[in-house]
């Protein structure tokens, strides 16, 4: 019998029976059917799977679900991510869209650093965590600039 883990995702708490070592991404995609989070490399190297854990951008392929028990987990499906995702659509700051969900979450975490989110800090964070192969980089930074002027929870 797999031990049960309490995961709080987007404000809802779920009791999940997970095999030991189950990664957060698999709990999200497989057990909770929240498939907006992307499995890119499985090595914590591309950032496609980024979610927020207690407000911090975390690569969900690189952390066990059990380690996140009790924490506030936010994914691309959260209400808080919606205005950021909408801005990506407005600016078409994506091509294939595979890296987008993870980048939306990193930008959401950064925006909460207001009143003065620091652009250089965001670039540093994106540089450290995320890859985009289609070359949407410049558009993504333009979205971030536009979002600074807008309300985000």
């Amino acid at each position: 019998m797999s031990p049960s883990v309490l995961l709080t995702v987007n404000g809802h708490t779920h009791e999940l029976s997970l095999a030991p070592g189950t990664l957060l991404i698999d709990a999200l995609r497989t057990d909770l059917a929240l498939k907006g989070t992307r499995h890119g490399c499985g090595e914590g190297a591309c950032g496609a799977c980024t979610v927020l854990v207690n407000g911090i951008a975390v690569q969900s392929c690189d952390i066990a679900a059990a380690e996140c028990a009790g924490a506030a987990i936010e994914t691309i499906e959260s209400d808080a991510a919606a205005p950021v995702a909408a801005a990506f659509l407005e600016f078409t700051a994506a091509q294939c869209g595979f890296c987008t969900a993870g980048i939306v979450m990193t930008i959401l975490a950064w925006l909460r650093g207001r009143p003065v989110p620091d652009r250089a800090e965001l670039i540093g964070k994106l540089d450290e965590l995320h890859l985009c192969r289609c070359g949407a980089h410049a558009r993504i930074l333009r979205v971030a600039d536009a979002l600074v002027a807008r309300p985000v929870r």
């Binding site: 498939k35 890119g40 890296c99 890859l131």
Partner: protein, 700 residues
């Protein structure tokens, strides 16, 4: 009637393209598939305009062997040129049939019918009827070749946002999000070295691994199936440790590959030969090269397969559902009519990556499991097993007279295959097929007429250069598996041409922009160069050096498609960084202006990444890159400022735009580096090591 677009002529049944639904919508069907380039949005924009409805009323089905037209591959920047033209004509013809029926219904001549938001009005009267009122009486199940010519309306109606992106963010649109009833998850367990033979296989030991539901063995193809994706990943890793392979000897070292290209068997062709080159006042000779480049999709290759009573359904992110179906039929020795292949988006592919291969993998695993199976590749598979873009060596000899006029140009291209996709050619293009118990021969690398060509693509300068010669040596057996990568040979051929143009300009003592204009009589070519120079505030006397430089690059893609000029500004510190790019493009009419600009921006950044840092190599264990840390690509910290200007001449038909920037960007970067450091680096990527080597060679 006037000539039909080729894709429509090949698929002339009108209801294959357009159907009026019962619910106030119209469904259009395209053989061109969404690769992240926004093609489905552009098709809806075209259809909405011709049908005179808002884009919200237009649904699209794309890439389905059971439902949609066969338009081959979604590749070569032809989706708008060919697929868009077919969609435009098909939807205009459909509107014409409805207009005729509306005229009968309202008792007025067809010329008095006005169409708006799906309604047909009789001019000057209040009567009206809609597509949906008339659909029972208008038969679209007919052959368009018998119809009066279509009345094409100008322009397109772009939807408010890309239609594929909301579902991608919601977790419902990507192939990775499919979840069929009873679906399992499988992995193929591959050797590190391609074509290794399986010499140690213990089925019982693999079956005993916890979580294994089924084991596939078909010749040298081994796979496992589990209930969950994470279990499948773990089991595949443990199964890999239980297999023993007999690997073929490693190829000679990568560093020497461009030198031993001469020794490989070659299919040599003279593409173009005007006359012999006559020596003039100045001769320039240079040998340029690029390494293999990985497609390196962000998402893993993925497919889902389901067998029902000996018939097969496959969901795939392949660029060509019909060619894939043909090759699945070859590999599985079954008729194509028993296979349905349906497209679902994957991560951007930029050419022929593992998307087709994994479809066969899923089919084999689903057959072994007796259940539907989703198969995904690992990151290592993605970087080492999928085809790479081909390495190239390009030699140029050019002569220039004392007045600074180029008098002849001789370009010779060596490259492994740039095109080994599923096609009509003999053999099977699917990786696992080569190692099954009944192995299939790999598909033969394809050459194409010139233009567009494959490895020799853009090997002929658009400039007025006197006598021209172009030769291509296709090397069927390269050390790495290779196939189509965005722009094929254009990336390196244009890099070579633009490098030579700058070297000749330098010798002639003429500014590089002015030198190019002096060798161009094509007004649209001149226009993009002038536009990019203006955007960049190009100054003839701009000082280079001090680690800062600027350079220009230009080409007309395939010598027959979009014109593009790039001015690149760079900084050279620990590495070369593109800081700013000014890009002017003429791709004729842009269906979706922002969509085109997005493609050009993305193509520019990707080409900068290829040109400055990327190299897929191998060592004695096989392909070297197995994780992202082995294969760096351009990151956010190196994001350049990019400005794109579209020149849209009046009445110019639309041309594809997704690939036109790769070559000009490479040329501009090489020329900017020359401007910054005074050294010509002829081998990509333009890394500090390559720069140091070039400086040494120029000094010796």
């Amino acid at each position: 009637m006037s000539t039909l677009p080729a894709d429509l002529a090949a698929n002339p049944r009108l209801d294959l393209w357009v159907r009026v639904d019962d619910d106030g919508c119209i469904t259009v069907r395209s053989g061109k598939v969404e690769l992240g380039q926004g093609i489905t949005t552009a098709m809806v924009a075209i259809a909405a305009r011709q049908l005179c409805v808002s884009p919200q009323r237009v649904r699209i089905v794309s890439g389905d062997t059971a439902l949609a037209p066969d338009e081959g591959q979604t590749a070569g920047s032809q989706s708008i040129e060919q697929g868009g033209a077919a969609m435009r004509t098909a939807t205009a013809l459909a509107r014409g049939l409805f207009v005729a029926e509306a005229a009968r219904e309202l008792g007025v001549p067809a010329t008095d019918i006005k169409t708006e938001e799906g309604w047909f009005f009789a001019v000057g009267r209040n009567d009206r009827c809609s597509y949906w009122d008339l659909s029972a009486r208008v038969d679209l199940a007919l052959d368009v070749t018998g119809l009066e010519p279509a009345v094409i309306l100008a322009g397109a109606v772009t939807p408010p946002a890309r239609i594929d992106l909301p579902g991608k963010l919601a977790g419902t649109m990507f192939i990775h999000d499919l979840d069929l009833p009873g679906m399992r998850h499988g992995r193929i367990v591959r050797p590190a070295m391609a074509r290794a033979r399986l010499v140690g296989f213990d089925r019982a030991a693999i079956e005993a691994l916890p979580g294994v539901l089924a084991v596939l063995r078909d010749g040298d193809v081994v796979g496992i199936v589990a209930a969950r994706d994470d279990t499948a990943r773990q089991v595949a890793k443990r199964a890999a440790e239980l297999l023993r392979w007999d690997a073929p000897p490693a190829p000679p070292p990568m560093s020497e590959f461009h030198d031993w290209m001469d020794d490989l068997p070659a299919n040599s062709r003279v593409i173009f030969d005007e006359t012999t080159c006559v020596p003039a006042a100045h001769r320039y000779e240079g040998v340029f090269a690029r390494p293999y480049i990985a497609h390196a999709a962000i998402g893993p290759a993925c497919a889902v397969a389901r067998w029902t009573d000996g018939k097969l359904e496959v969901w795939t992110h392949s660029q060509g559902v019909f060619p894939l179906r043909a090759h699945l039929a070859r590999a599985l020795a079954m008729p194509q009519s028993d296979i349905i292949v349906t497209h679902r988006p994957g991560a951007g592919c930029y050419g022929h990556n593992g998307a087709d291969d994994v479809a066969l993998d899923a089919a084999l695993l689903a057959r072994a499991a007796g259940a539907p199976v989703m198969c995904q590749w690992s990151r290592a598979d993605e970087l080492s097993t999928a085809p790479a873009g081909a390495a190239m060596r390009v030699s140029v000899t050019a002569e220039m007279d004392a007045d600074g006029r180029i008098t002849c140009w001789d370009q010779e291209v060596f490259s492994p295959p740039h095109f080994a996709r599923p096609s009509a050619a003999p053999g099977t293009a699917l990786l696992s097929a080569w190692s099954m118990a009944t192995p299939q021969a790999p598909a033969i690398a394809q050459q194409a007429g010139f233009p567009p060509g494959t490895g020799e693509r853009n090997g002929l300068p658009l400039y007025v250069v006197g006598a021209r010669r172009l030769r291509h040596h296709l090397l069927p057996q390269g050390p790495l598996r290779s196939s189509a990568l965005r722009s094929l040979g254009a990336h390196c051929n244009v890099f070579a041409i633009e490098s030579v143009m700058d070297e000749l300009a330098l010798r002639a003592g003429v500014d590089p922009v002015r030198f190019r204009l002096a060798h161009l009589d094509d007004p649209r070519a001149r226009a993009v160069i002038e536009a990019a120079a203006t955007m960049a505030d190009w100054r003839e006397d701009a000082p280079g050096g001090e680690g800062v430089g600027r350079g220009i690059g230009f080409a007309r893609y395939k010598n027959s498609s979009a014109w593009c000029a790039v001015v690149a500004q760079i900084e050279v510190g620990e590495r070369v960084r593109l800081t700013r790019a000014h890009i002017a493009v003429d791709c004729g009419e842009a269906i979706d202006v922002d969509g085109v600009i997005n493609q050009i921006e993305g193509g520019a950044i990707q080409a900068a990444s290829w040109t400055l840092i990327e190299e897929a190599g191998w060592d004695s264990n096989g392909p070297r890159a197995r994780a992202w840390e082995d294969y760096p690509i351009l990151r956010f910290g190196d994001t350049p400022d990019i400005a794109v200007r579209l020149l849209q001449p009046a009445d110019a038909p639309p041309l594809g735009a997704g690939e036109c920037v790769a070559g000009p960007m490479a040329g501009a970067l090489g020329n900017a580096l020359r401007h910054a450091l005074g050294v010509r680096v002829r081998r990509m990527p333009l890394t500090p090591e390559r720069i140091a080597t070039a400086i040494e060679q120029e000094g010796s």
